[in-house]
Each structure stands twice: as C-alpha cells, then as structure tokens.
C-alpha cells in the first residue's frame, strides 16, 4: 500500500474517530457524575435518533426542529430515568447501578422495537454527502462533517464545564458530592443535568450514525464497541475519550485498509488490550478507578 492510500485511510479513520469520541463522552459524563457505567448509552443513542426520525417523518417537522424535538424528548427520558430509576439507587453498590442500566437498555430496546418496529428506516439526510477531494485523497462528506459536529459538541460541553457556574458546580458535585452539598449546591439537580447532557450527547451521536448508515434498533450496538474507547481513554477523562476516540478510529481504518473489513473489529481491540496491560486505568484515567 502506498503513502497516498495510507494517508487516505488515516484521515478517514481520524475523522470517524470524532464520532467515537462523542459516544465515549456520553459514557464519561455519566461515570464522572455518578461513578457508574451507563450500559444503556447505546439505547439512548438509538432512542434519540428515533425521536429525530419521528419528528421529521411522522410529524413533518423541518429538520432543525426535529433535532430540537429529539433532544427535548431524550432530555425528558433522561430526567424520568434519573428520577425514578437511578435516584432510588443512590448509596447502593455500583454493581447494582450497572445492572439496572443493563436492564434499562433492554427495556428501551424493547420499547423502540414495539413502537417503531425492527426494520431499517431511512433517516433524513443530516450532513452533506458530497465527498471532499484533496489531490489524490478522497474523504466521504458525512465522515468529514460528522467530525466537526462531534468536535463542536465536545468543545461546547468542555467550555461549559470549564467556565459556566453550573458547569463548575457539576464538576464539584462529581468530584465530591458531600462537600458540594454542604456548599449549597443542589446535588440532585446536577445529577439530573448530567443525565440530560449524556442523553443529548448520545442523541446527537445516534442521529449522526443513523443518518450515515440507516436507522434500526441494531444501532444501539455501536456503543458497545465504543466501550473499548472509553476504557482506553480512562473512564473519567474527557480528554482521554477524545484521544482514544481518534486513536481507535485511526486503528480501525488502517486495519481495514491493510487486512480487509473483518480486521475492523479485531485489530483495534487487540491494541487496546495491549495498552491496558501497561496502563490499566487508561491513558488519562485516574488511577483508582473501579475495575469491572
């Protein structure tokens, strides 16, 4: 394989890594905020995409409004889930919370299947498909633009956590809920907001994934692959999620380029496994994270 092809696969990989990082961010937000891994992340993605689809194809909303509709819908679901499923579990062992998110995933999966059916649906086109051509290198338009959408969402959230008062309060509550509570921060509200943010991030990612391929309940499986990204980056590190997202995206693409499509699901994970042997807490994770 020559350098041009290598560069092309590398670019495709890095740009598709943005989306991986976005899905990973959904995991990281919940982990930081609640110390639990949300195994229903994929279902949130899927449900978000279905809501956007419903807004556009059933309710005949314009595209932008259907996205708003999807985000509002997923926020509502996140609030209900946090209030009635997660909050009663406060103070329970982390494992119970993990189990509940798995159950929640199964429930959402079944619900989506019952309402929209299991067949493939055609999403409205979200991102320009026109490929970008730089000399001999061709980059699919959807991959290129999905990267920038993901980057914008990640950057926006990072700035929010860095500079806004609510964002700083959320960080405080995530790092030490008791102290935050004593300072007058409403920890229940910050937890609720954490779920809303994670839900919205998932919905954006799900919508993009569905619009690139197609929409079906199988979409939720995407998140499971991203779990490797999250663990590689370090469960509680946003920067780690970005770096690991780009790294795994690149590895996947290079693996496909050199070894064919089947290598896509193998090579990156072998590399992740190897890295984790050296750094079990991930690239940028805190050392004392929970082992699964």
């Amino acid at each position: 394989m020559d350098w041009i092809t290598f560069a092309e696969f590398s670019l495709i990989g890095l740009f598709s890594g943005g989306l991986l990082a976005l899905v990973a961010l959904g995991f990281v937000l919940i982990y930081k905020g609640t110390r639990a891994i949300n195994f229903a992340t994929g279902e949130f993605m899927m449900l978000g995409a279905y809501l956007v689809y419903t807004g556009h194809s059933w309710l005949k909303m314009p595209l932008w409004l259907s996205v708003v509709f999807g985000l509002a819908g997923i926020s509502l679901v996140a609030i209900v889930v946090e209030r009635f499923v997660l909050r009663p579990l406060a103070g329970q062992p982390v494992v119970s919370v993990l189990m509940v998110t798995i159950g929640l995933g199964a429930f959402l999966h079944g619900m989506v299947d019952a309402i929209w059916g299991g067949q493939n649906l055609e999403m409205p086109q979200m991102l320009p498909r026109k490929p970008l051509i730089w000399g001999d290198i061709m980059l699919p338009g959807a991959v290129f633009w999905s990267f920038w959408v993901a980057l914008a969402v990640i950057a926006g959230l990072s700035l929010y956590f860095r500079y806004s008062r609510t964002g700083i309060a959320m960080r405080a509550a995530a790092s030490d809920p008791i102290t935050a509570y004593a300072l007058g921060i409403d920890v229940r509200r910050t937890q609720q907001l954490t779920w809303v943010f994670a839900g919205c991030v998932g919905a954006v990612a799900g919508t993009i994934v569905a619009s690139i391929s197609s929409l079906s309940p199988a979409l939720s499986g995407t998140a499971l692959g991203v779990l490797a990204v999250v663990i590689l980056g370090g469960l509680d590190s946003v920067a780690g999620a970005i770096i690991a997202g780009l790294l795994v995206g690149w590895l996947e693409s290079i693996a496909v380029g050199y070894f064919g499509g089947k290598a896509r699901d193998l090579v990156p994970y072998v590399v992740v496994l190897a890295i984790l042997m050296v750094r079990p807490y991930g690239l940028l994770g805190t050392r004392d994270i929970e082992r699964l």
Binding site: A182, L183, I185
Partner: protein, 267 residues
C-alpha cells in the same frame, strides 16, 4: 448580658442501628461568640456536626437557626440559609484552582442560572464581578492566600489547603461558621496563624463560630464557650476555666485511678 443563640441544638438523639451516636445533646452557639465542642475520639463530635449540616437526620430533637426549625431542611438549603462548614479531612475540589474552589462557596448567592445568565448577560456579568471583588477583598486578602489564587489546590501545602477550605466557607458569607478540626495536623506556626484568623473573624466581623478541635491549648485560648461530649452525651459546658476544672472532663480525658479522689483543684 446574654447574647441570643444563633444556632441551637435541642435534645438531639441520633442512632445508627443499635449504635447510639448522640443521646440527647443540647447545645447553643451564641451570636458573635466562639463555641468549641471537644471530646475524646468517637464522642460524637463529627456526628453532631453532620446533624447540624443536615447530612444525618436525628431520630429525635431539633435544630434551630435564628429561631427557625431547620430539622427537616436539606443540606444545600441550610447552606443557603447561612450555615457554612469545613471538613475534618481537607475537602477541596482537586483539579480546580484555588479561586474556582473559593468561588464555589459563593455559588448559592448567585441568583442567575445558566439560562438566565444567557438572557441577562449584563446582570450576570455584574453579579460575577461583584462576587469576585468581594472574594478578593474579604476572603483572599484577609486569609493571605493571594499569592496562590491561580494554583491548583493539589499543589498547596496542607496548612494552606486548610486555609483555602476556610476561605471557601467564608465566601458563602455565612451567619455561622462551623469548623471541623481547623488545625488538625498543623505545625505550631500554622496553628497560630489559623487561631489568629479565627479570632479576627470573631473580633472584626462579629462572626459566630462553632468548632470542633483536639488542640486543647487553642480551644482554651480562643473559645468563649466550651461544650464537652463523651459517648454521645454532653458532660460539661461552660467557660474554658469552668470546663478545664470539671471532674467529669478530667476523667473523660485522663481516666481515673482507683486511688484518686475527685480532682477538683484543676486550672
């Protein structure tokens, strides 16, 4: 002359399963005074603090702040009502700067949330600036931590971290300041600095302070009123001189020898 109690704890009972942490404790912190709670390890001091902050719900008894019953009130609401505290172990938010930590103390005083802040940009900017200015003047300069304000708290010495924690509590502009072992683990110089800050707060600003401390010298030097807990019971209460010579206190701290008669001479 008797200043009115700003905070009063009335007959508080707290049990964890079969363990009785507090068995009917009553205590008052009078406005503008320094009240100290002392007692051996496991006497229930921190349980008492956690009950006052609202983390534990007493099975019986009540807590009043300025005459209002706050027993059912949540911790964050109590904080907004003017109850500020520090923790026994330094409870700063690691990974944040000193200034961010301190500004979080002012969190509940800022009216606008993010949406409102976007809608009323000017007002929230003014609010932010006013808070910043007040913190700089009344907290950072006062506690002499201006040289570290942009550092990450993790890089500070233990004594400075404790001081930042006090700064954060002050940024809440509290009516009553609760300090859980403010000088624990400090060397003598750091202890003297902290004692001076606490006294200044009382004398210059009329702050009401309730503190738990093991450093007997400091407690006796700065407190107006000392309450002694042992096994979840209040065994003595009064001025430092009174408490120091109280036979039950001496017994709780030193134990009794069989041959010993009640050591009442003290002082």
């Amino acid at each position: 002359m008797n200043p009115s109690p700003l905070l009063s704890v009335e007959d508080v009972h707290l049990r964890f399963g079969g363990i009785k942490a507090l068995g009917g404790v009553s205590l008052q912190a009078k406005a503008g005074e320094i009240t100290a709670v002392i007692g051996p390890n496991g006497a229930g001091k921190t349980s008492l603090f956690n009950t006052i902050s609202g983390f534990y719900k007493p099975q019986q008894g009540r807590i009043q702040l300025e005459g209002r019953d706050i027993t059912p009130t949540k911790p964050n609401v109590r904080a907004a009502m003017g109850l500020a505290r520090t923790f026994q172990n330094v409870a700063l938010f690691r990974g944040m700067t000193v200034l961010d930590n301190i500004k979080l103390g002012g969190h509940n005083r800022m009216a606008a949330n993010t949406l409102q802040a976007m809608a009323y940009w000017g007002q929230s900017q003014r609010e932010e600036l006013a808070l910043r200015e007040e913190i700089e003047r009344d907290v950072i300069d006062f506690l002499e931590i201006d040289h570290v304000r942009h550092q990450s708290v993790a890089s500070l010495s233990y004594g400075l971290q404790k001081r930042v924690e006090l700064a954060r509590a002050l940024a809440m502009r509290p009516k009553i300041l609760m300090l859980d072992e403010p000088v624990a683990g400090m060397n003598r110089e750091e202890t003297e600095d902290m004692a001076r800050f606490i006294l200044d707060l009382q004398e210059e600003r009329g702050m009401t302070i309730l503190l738990i401390e093991h450093d007997m010298g400091m407690v006796m030097d700065i407190s107006n009123h000392v309450a002694v807990l042992n096994f979840g019971q209040l065994i003595a209460s009064g001025t430092p001189q009174h408490v120091r010579s109280h036979p039950d206190v001496i017994e709780a701290y030193l134990g009794v020898r069989e041959s010993q008669t009640a050591p009442g001479q003290g002082a």
